[in-house]
Amino acid sequence: MIGKRLPSWRRHSRSTDTTELGFRIRLRSRMGMLTLILRPFSGAMGADLKGIIPIVLLVLAVGLAPHALAQHSTAFDIEDGRRVYEASCANCHGPDGNLIAGIDFGHGVYRRPFSNEELADIIVAGIPSTPMPPAPGMSREQAFRVVEYLRSMPTGRVAAAEGDPRRGRAVFEGKGECLDCHRVDGVGSRVGPDLTRIGLLRRAGELERSLLDPAAEVQPENRFYKVTPKNDEPVTGRLLNRDTFTVQLIDTDERLRLFQVADLRDHGFEETPMPSVRDKLSLQEIADVVSYLSSLRGEATP
């Protein structure tokens, strides 16, 4: 099955892509739509499209019907659809799908009710005489994955299935060991991101992605950092600030610490210590946790 493992050529489109997206969106507002329409076919995006081609060929070779594939898409297919969306669509529609008037993918708002097939057709062929361009390099199968992602944006795919927030809370606080690093309603560690209001900040699909692939996108304020003092043991923690002469972080003992760079033998970013739940939790448990996280809105939790 395609996409069960993220191919290595995709793993590097991550947080840096997010930054570029933001930049492109700013460009859009300053330079108008025309610039935008052209940009998806250049730069980092182009690299992604090149990567798509061998997959399409592989799909054709094994003879899978694209539609059927979409019907049985997995969380990983949606993740793939997200990457294509962010590379090809978000420039105009925005990362939340709400930059075109009358359309808000994140809330399931379209100009009219479209079937999945119609949406896939539009993605591939564009809409003539409008700024919506065709994507001649994109397969229909790929377009279906984008559609699946669009459909998942309001709720997240797995959560949309049968996630149960109460079960999710039990997994979150128990088997998942999430409170070892995270904090909800004043309970848990401050070292990782506080998730008390995460349901307001992230869509279910994004939460699911962070659970499956935590390193895919780490917000700048959540990056881990390691300092090695010349005469002491290394210290890791969430980076708060750094400048030419000092580093400030909250260490794994939840202490606010400042280090003088001159006193350090080494310092630098660490990969996030958050492990993927892929091999730890079942799909149902993931759906439950996503459902629980989506319910966290700074109010009483279930």
Binding site: D180, R190, N241, Q248, D253, L258
Partner: protein, 540 residues
Amino acid sequence: MRMISSRLALAALVVCGPLNAQVTFERILNAQREPENWLSYSGTLTNQRHSLLDQVNTSTVDALELQWVWQTRSLEKFEATALVVDGILYTVQAPNDVVALDAATGRIFWTYHHEPAPEARLCCGRVNRGLAILGDTLYMGTIDAHLLAIDAKSGKLLWDTVVADAAEFYSITMAPNVIKDKVIVGTAGGDMGIRGYIAAFDAKTGEEVWRFYTIPAPGEPGNDTWSGDSWREGGAAVWNAAAYDPETNLAFWGTGNPAPDWDGSVRLGDNLYSNSVVALDADTGELKWYYQFTPHDELDYDSTQVPVLVDVDWRGTPRKVMLWANRNGIMYVLDRVTGELLFGKPYVKHNWWAGFDEKGRLRRVPGMDVTREPKLFHPHVHGAINWAPPAFSPRTGLYYVSHWENSGIVAIEGEFPQAVGIHRRQTAMGQVNLEPFFNNDEEAYGVIRAYDPNTLDPVWEHRMADITWAGVLSTAGDLVFGGGREGYFLALDARTGELLWRASLGGQINSAPMSYSVDGRQFVAIAAGSALFAFALRED
């Protein structure tokens, strides 16, 4: 491997818990045992603003030099006193951003931003005077009258309680007080006709536990000191920190002027409990006693200075007293158990005080009230002091106060009552003739003086050319730190007043100094202009 080791470290955290100790109320109550920290607005709940650190002293102060500066991103007056807990300094960027800094370097850990509601209206600047802490939680009152609880480690909001309606001119500018398991704040807005109150909130949940109105409602004792319905919008705001005496479980707040400020004709009577100190049971908010400094005030003599609690040998007898240099130009010694006035007299040039009656109520020189006939008042409506915190040194036994001398001619113009200024209950400035603030050089100066609590006579003074809005700090190094509007930060000999050291900070000092230490090194910090400055002895 790296991931595994991180996970192990985090797992260890869960087993062992955080290593750094929480700020319990026991620590706040006994803050003198840990002079490296500054755990409440005045350092201790006595409001003595006296640091037991003595590394910087009369012999070493020459080597005091700037260590760091933290610039706010605010052009509001910087009135906050910082807290320091185990090397972390917390302060407020006006109006309501909380920041956590490294106390040794001034580098920032985090900022919590509160966007006040546009309805927030303040008489005298969008200011904040500081924070309170309990456990791992910081508390801040906001100019739109919310009380916020903020995680001291992460800077995340824990709860947000609306204390009062900002659209009704309520605001909070004071540093809250933590007493036991409660956070207590008062409401500002007295010049705009609020009905002031003090309210206590559960520190964990933000739920209101008790409320004390500084103006009694009909049927309550004291309501008859307000004519008609004037009690409803009579001011008596509370906008500076309380003192707390654990032996009596009493907390003491000063209250502000009655509203409208100068037009007393619409609020006949003494106007209780404006311009008073109220002693409340800290658990219930029940009024135990009060003392009114200026009955029926018509000169805006807020009594929102912080009470200073001192145990002294009062004329041969040990007594628990409260020292109070009041805006009305009179200095008081009160028995803080009973509220009895022990002694009081003017500490600046004064011309309307005629002593006290047998109950301790202030007597006014006949005819010295505000009318259409212009009269010269000592002190002027700006008073002898505003809110700047004083200090007391148990080593010298002296009470240190920064204040000023001034006078002014005040007369009502036009008809009262009519239009009442930009705010509904504020006396229109156009209806009160306020002659220039300072009349001559003999009055136009700020001064830091040291007073003997037994006599209330000054032992020494340090004069400044301009007035001062800055509070003072005394230390076990026998120094008094202070400053003024000129932007000089000063160190004076606590016993003689001799100027031992100064630094020009290039901006008005609208705050009070405080001191702390990190890794055995003493710092003295002061806000001036838009920045916070920290000094320590030069390291050779």
